[in-house]
């Protein structure tokens, strides 16, 4: 440790007028982050990353560091930041437990294609493999949940590895990258060359040349279709191709439904937006999946929660699949035409070749099913007549107050499905949710990150009473750094989604879903966060307005009906056309 201190003290950290830089590995790492345009870091210090934190002390004017309360909170915050801003989220954590606490967030970011660069400290290189204090094999633990990872043991590698990390994280199909840096490399004094961004790796081709013959084949199929149907996912958002997508549907007049990861890529109010796909999606899109003749999947991956039973999924349809990742094409659903490429490039080419069209009769079918769903499900949910409040009416009130301009961050469970179903969105990157991994505890920290990623937006975190109790420690982060997040706890005093399944499929054997909660209002207040609780409809609207109009962060707990279910529902193992309205 003495030698470490000495090395730091020897470091003068003066950027010379020449383009080289003399300093430590830690300093060159932070310089590299600035070169990559990083402004915000979510992190937590510890023994093996102390040299980086020591260097960070002098960078306070250039890099904002948010001290989270747990590394999982840090990585979810970085995810929220990345999803709201479209930039790469950056996380610092120490070795051992610091690094293992990142794993859930890495898995979440990997399955939801969120660009992250995580920097973990590691024990000195000469201690690797000795079971040193806080040593853990981070590289091998994180290999299945990272797009790429690398262990740096020599400071001379840092610049190149960092440049590669940012390039890999944000190019092609984005994903999380982890760099593990041994303490000696952080301390190592070197003369470093100028930082050069990476734009090519010979073994990695993120954006393929688009093959025009596949575009032509796709256009031909689309032009011949009588009942075409578009499914779009987060690929449209990640490709920053919202305008290109809009142009495509506006010209073709094809109804388009979204996965929860793609929600908001076009406004909820767009006339061709026919709603949500999947298990708790809308009635029409699910039923009509099995009636369309050409299914056009754009930037989505046919997750099992979207397809239901695969051997009864869209068997009558010819599938056109646009995706940037070739491993997704033909993975779950066989494509008649696979268009491999960035939809930012492929969609305009396709738009050029397709006929202008309107599919009035076909659209009318969606409206017909929608009316049925409105009558049987949506109206009772949004305008309940019973005493108990529903999650749906809370969402309706939020829509009325915010008009669709807020960023809605959700946790996982019933409230998540209700929020995705009923929240209105005018803008892209406004629905932030843990889609693929379904991580309870995601909501609160992700909302903090989203607020840093989009500081001018109202950020509302909608969280269940169960999920909130998984990461409540991040109230401390809000307290200290003041992220003006509106926390809305929809409390049904149950682990609602599991309870719903137990009711429907396990004879109401409510096994360990009866969860008790602390006094959330008092908890928030103990963190000096304004809070209140509503248990009557008469006070709901005013309470929501108070929360949203409050200057800083605010926690509102709303007591909703205990045993409400989310419908429609495609029961597991059933076909999408067997969707139940009750």
């Amino acid at each position: 440790m003495e030698t470490a201190q000495e090395t730091i003290q020897q470091t003068e950290a003066k950027a010379e007028t020449s383009k080289t830089f003399k300093g430590t590995g830690s300093q060159v790492l932070l310089n590299g982050l600035i070169e990559e345009g990083v402004t915000t870091i979510f992190g937590y210090p510890g023994g093996a990353i102390m040299p980086i934190y020591d260097a960070l002390y002098d960078y306070a004017d250039k890099l904002e560091h948010i001290l989270v309360r747990h590394e999982q909170g840090g990585i979810h915050a970085a995810q929220g930041f990345a999803r709201a801003s479209g930039e790469v989220g950056v996380v610092f954590a120490t070795s051992g437990p610091g690094a293992t606490n990142l794993v859930t967030g890495l898995a979440d970011a990997q399955i939801d294609s969120t660009p992250l660069v995580c920097i973990t400290g590691q024990v000195f290189a000469h201690l690797l493999g000795t079971d040193a204090f806080q040593e853990t094999d981070v590289i091998n633990i994180t290999t299945p949940v990272t797009k790429w990872n690398y262990q740096v043991t020599d400071a001379k590698e840092i610049q190149e590895v960092l440049a590669k990390a940012f390039y890999i994280a944000k190019s092609g199909r984005p994903g999380p990258v982890l760099i593990d840096i041994t303490k000696n490399a952080q301390l190592q004094l070197e003369e470093f060359p100028e930082y050069v961004k990476c734009n090519h790796i010979r073994s990695y081709r993120p954006k393929p040349k688009v093959r025009i013959e596949y575009i032509e084949q796709a256009a031909e199929l689309i032009n011949s279709a009588k009942k075409p149907f578009i499914l779009f996912g987060q690929g449209v958002v990640l490709g920053k191709a919202e305008e290109e997508f809009k142009a495509f549907i506006n010209k073709t007049g094809i109804p388009a439904a979204w996965t929860i990861m793609g929600e908001g890529a076009i406004p909820t109010s767009h006339p061709l937006n026919v709603g949500m796909l999947g298990m708790h999606g809308n009635y029409g899109p699910n039923v009509l999946t099995n009636e369309c003749d050409v299914l056009i999947a754009i930037g989505m991956r046919f997750d099992d929660r979207v397809t239901g039973r695969l051997d009864k999924y869209a068997k009558q349809a010819k599938v056109v699949h646009l995706d940037i990742d070739p491993a997704e094409i033909d993975k779950n659903v066989k494509a008649e035409v696979g268009v491999w490429g960035d939809c930012k490039e492929t969609l305009p080419l396709l738009t050029n070749l397709v006929n202008e069209s309107k599919h009035e009769e076909w659209l009318a079918k969606f409206r017909q099913y929608n009316q049925e769903e409105i009558d049987q499900v949506i109206t009772p949910e949004l305008y309940p007549t019973g005493d108990e409040m529903t999650m749906g009416e809370v969402l309706r009130n939020i829509n009325e107050i915010c008009g669709g301009d807020a960023i809605i961050v959700t946790d996982v469970g019933q409230h998540q499905m209700v929020a995705c179903r009923y929240a209105k969105f005018n803008n892209t990157r406004s629905n932030i949710t843990s889609g693929g991994l379904g991580t309870m505890g995601f909501g609160l920290p992700a909302a903090i990150g989203a607020k840093y990623g989009a500081p001018d937006k109202t950020v509302i975190a909608i969280i269940g009473d169960g999920g909130f109790q998984m990461t409540p420690q991040e109230l401390g982060t809000i307290m200290q750094f003041g992220a003006a997040v509106k926390i809305l706890i929809l409390n049904n005093r149950f682990l609602g989604m599991v309870r719903q399944w137990q009711q429907l499929f396990h004879d109401k054997r409510y096994s360990f879903v009866n969860i008790t909660s602390p006094d959330f209002v008092a908890l928030a207040k103990s963190y000096y966060i304004e809070a209140s609780k509503v248990d009557e409809r008469a006070n709901l609207r005013e309470a929501l307005e108070t929360m949203i109009n409050h200057e800083g962060s605010y926690l509102l707990e709303v007591m909703v009906g205990r045993e409400n279910n989310v419908f429609p529902m495609v029961p597991q193992g059933m076909s999408v056309s067997e969707i139940r309205l009750k």
Binding site: N199, R202, S203, R205, R211, D325, P326, D330, K334, W340
Partner: protein, 212 residues
Amino acid sequence: MSTENTLEHKITKADFDGKQEYTITVYAENRIGLLNRIAIIFSKRKINIESLNTSPSEIDGIHRFNIVIHEGYEVVRKLARQIEKQIEVLKVYFNTNEEIIWQELALYKVSTDEIAEKVTVERLLRQYGASAVVIRKDYTVFAVTGHREETDALVKALEPYELIEFVRSARVAIIKDSAGFHEKLKEFEAFEPREELVENEFLEKGEKIFTM
């Protein structure tokens, strides 16, 4: 270019008749940890690797993996795409046994006394294509290079004479129709590949791909 993709597996009816042996050839950067990254693609799906060999390739600095699995075509195709998706992997091919030239090396340790007494060593060497690697007073080591049946046959033949030790290497394979990987690599190294570089050759097969 598509007609030149001779390294690639040609789909036949046999591909859909159930499981068979496929040899996966991976061209990759020589990087610590990549073996693990590739191996977990199999273990994640609970697929056993029958044989795995890593070696240098014909290109300086590029490593080559030979992986043998017993699986159906659909599974192998998906695995190949998942492997090719890894950042440090350049190219993945998969082939049936008919499409490759392959060898395995086996070593056999037997008692020299036993073998000299009871077997005509000369006949043994000739019949099984074996060679004597070491002949000592106490034991002799034979080597056989060939297909599985050939190396297995000598195990059978030596069983009565106390086979003290036996070991067989992983499979090494060369794709028969090989045009080589050289040209491709140059393309990979180029920032802007030529128009003809078929980057996703799987997509060439649209109509031939089996439906789930």
